[in-house]
């Protein structure tokens, strides 16, 4: 894969469920190595935007390009191959419940790499250590807590060392220390591997710790009403809503 200055390009994207438009005519690019945040009030369409970016939902209008390619213009096999360049952590984790954590992480490796079983097991263990789940290889998702599932989902998203990582509320359900470690991990990934990250989050601490760029979605106007580094947005909020959001309704 060649390097792209903008691994994600979104132009004139309209998202809709049936006839109900969620967001209208979105335009933005994500720069390589950025930690790109999608923020906004609950129900504004952040998860929906993420689903569009990862090709789970076709745009009602407009295009989404990942690494220079349009999902919906690709053939089925091309698309499957392409998926190994992105890693996703879902809002509800999406761990396969009939497989152990190690098997969950191993599956993408088995599908997309030529590594032997031993290498795969070692990678699984090291990924689990990374997210603080050392020793939980043989547990089933239903046997661990919600926050632990979140971290296991993260470990699975990291399995293939993807170029773009998508997180839907990664720190929800984590204790403050784990949340901080996760932020740290996110920064490490970006710094050491040059991964581009797209994160949906409500957590103010991590918004300011990790974010280098952000869009704020407004459900009333169905558009982006703020764009830029969250620290700049806080210093100079374009609208009162954003100020309220970023200062926890004035409490910060």
């Amino acid at each position: 894969m060649p390097d792209f200055e903008f691994p994600i390009e979104v132009s004139h994207l309209t998202m809709a469920y049936g006839s109900r438009v969620i967001m209208d005519d979105l335009n933005f690019n994500v720069k390589k190595g950025d930690v790109f945040l999608v923020i906004g009030p609950s129900g504004c369409g952040k998860s929906t935007l993420l689903r569009h970016l990862i090709g789970l939902q076709p745009p009602a209008k407009g295009t989404v390009k990942l690494l220079g390619q349009d999902f919906w213009a690709m053939g089925e096999t091309e698309r499957q191959k392409f998926m190994q360049h992105i890693g996703i952590l879902y809002q509800r984790c999406g761990l396969w419940s009939s497989m152990t954590l190690a098997e969950n992480i191993a599956l993408p490796l088995q599908l997309y790499t030529d590594l032997g079983e031993k290498d795969i097991q070692e990678i699984c263990s090291s990924k689990l250590e990374l997210v603080g789940l050392a020793g939980f290889e043989d547990y089933y998702p239903s046997e661990i807590s919600g926050g632990m599932q979140k971290r296991a989902g993260l470990a699975r998203a990291l399995a293939l060392d993807p170029e773009i990582l998508f997180f839907d509320e990664p720190s929800a359900g984590l204790d403050p220390v784990s949340a901080m470690n996760l932020d740290q991990l996110i920064l490490e990934l970006r710094n050491s591997l040059g991964t581009t990250l797209v994160i949906v989050t409500h957590d103010l601490d991590s918004i300011f710790t990790v974010g280098t760029d952000a869009i704020y979605l407004n459900p009333r106007t169905k558009s982006i009403i703020g764009r830029g580094n969250p620290k700049d947005l806080l210093k100079d909020p374009p609208t009162p809503e954003i100020k309220e959001f970023l200062t926890r309704a004035g409490g910060r």
Binding site: S97, S125, L130, S142, N181, N191
Partner: protein
């Protein structure tokens, strides 16, 4: 691009080359066998090229080995990115709360049968508890203290009754045809053609219609009960009901139970009629009987008792179907795989119960000469 190598000299682990998972790379176990790490050591990554997970998994294994021997590595001289990621791993290992599970060991047969016995005891306990629960719930219904919503009940009635008519009539029509057709062969030998009506009538009314409707509803509706309640269990919906103080038997089991028990006899009567029509078609077109003669024989040879036995059987089978489905759903595990398992179990147990119950009822009616 140079090959990945790892060498250990004078307490320094030297990493060289590109460590990518697509290229060959050293094996951690082999490395540790060749270089048993002793004393304080550090890592030199100044000649390291590109790297990915493979390097991390190699280092995490080597570091873990060192930590176990009490020789933690000095990571301070590593490039910032690599060091912080390894630190996370070190932190993760130090704070590990779980021991890696033992792989499934071969259990002795005594051990296994002991486990089976314990499981059986638990299941029997649960079944008794469930039966009691349903009974109490029925009692509450009779005394107007139930939290059952009648809307739920009617929705279930429609689901178990009218919506099932298509499949039930299809199969019962076929059964009527088959019974008449197969019966016609020996009946012709004895010139007893008119009695094909008794064959279809007694056969279907008394036994075949209840069993057939029971089996169809086990596959159609018990399975859906189990899957629905099981998914509710997975989504913590049952817990939400429980903490709200609503007995799940009142709210979820009772409407389904009542609907199934009441609708099964109705479906059976319908199946009786359709199968009699099926039999009549064979009688008229294959055996040269008139419809009048067929119906006349049917009425004179089939007794009302046959119908009653059939309806009572239906009632029992409906109870069993509903209980199997709901019981399995409520005792579901918390994963998608568990839902699949209990759905299968609901159908299998329903059918086993149907077979046992029908046999018992048949024996009893024979003894009582009904």
């Amino acid at each position: 691009m140079s090959d990945a190598t790892a060498t250990f000299q004078n307490g320094v682990l030297i990493l060289q080359g590109d460590w990518k998972r697509t290229a060959p790379h050293p094996d951690a176990d082999q490395f540790l066998k060749d270089n048993p790490i002793e004393g304080p050591w550090k890592i030199d990554a100044s000649q390291l090229g590109k790297w990915d997970s493979i390097l991390l998994s190699f280092l995490s294994k080597v570091l873990a080995y060192g930590e176990k021997q009490g020789n933690s590595a000095d990571l301070t001289q590593l490039p910032e990115g690599l060091r912080r990621i390894l630190d996370l791993g070190v932190y993760g290992r130090k704070n590990a709360t779980a021991q890696r599970r033992q792989q499934d060991q071969e259990l002795s047969i005594v051990h296994k049968s002991g486990l089976f016995g314990l499981e059986l005891k638990k299941t029997i306990h649960e079944i008794i508890y469930f039966t009691g629960d349903v009974t109490l719930s029925l009692f509450r219904l009779i005394t107007f203290r139930s939290k059952m919503r009648w809307g739920d009940f009617f929705a279930q009635v429609i689901n178990c009754g009218p919506r099932a008519l298509g499949i039930v009539s299809l199969i019962s029509f076929l059964m009527g045809l088959i019974l008449a057709f197969v019966g016609s062969i020996p009946l012709k030998w004895f010139h007893a053609e008119p009695y094909v009506a008794s064959l279809v009538g007694i056969g279907m009314l008394r036994l075949m219609a209840p069993v057939m409707v029971g089996v169809v509803m086990a596959g159609r509706t018990s399975a859906s009960y189990a899957a629905e309640l099981g998914t509710m269990q997975v989504n913590e919906e049952l817990d939400a009901l429980h903490t709200l103080g609503v007995p799940q038997t009142d709210f979820l089991v009772l409407p389904r139970f009542l609907a199934m028990t009441l609708m099964l006899p109705v479906l059976a009567v319908f199946a009786d009629i359709v199968s009699i029509i099926g039999g009549m078609i064979v009688a008229v077109f294959d055996m040269d009987l008139t419809a009048h003669a067929y119906l006349n024989t049917l009425v004179t040879t089939t007794r009302l008792n046959d119908l009653f036995v059939g309806l009572i059987t239906c009632f029992v089978l409906g109870t069993l179907d509903a209980c199997c489905g709901c019981y399995q759903g409520i005792h579901c595990g918390r994963s998608a795989a568990a839902v699949g398992k209990i759905t299968t179990a609901a159908v299998v147990y329903s059918i086993v119960c149907i077979v046992i119950a029908t046999s018992l009822i048949t024996v009893i009616t024979v003894i009582l000469k009904i």
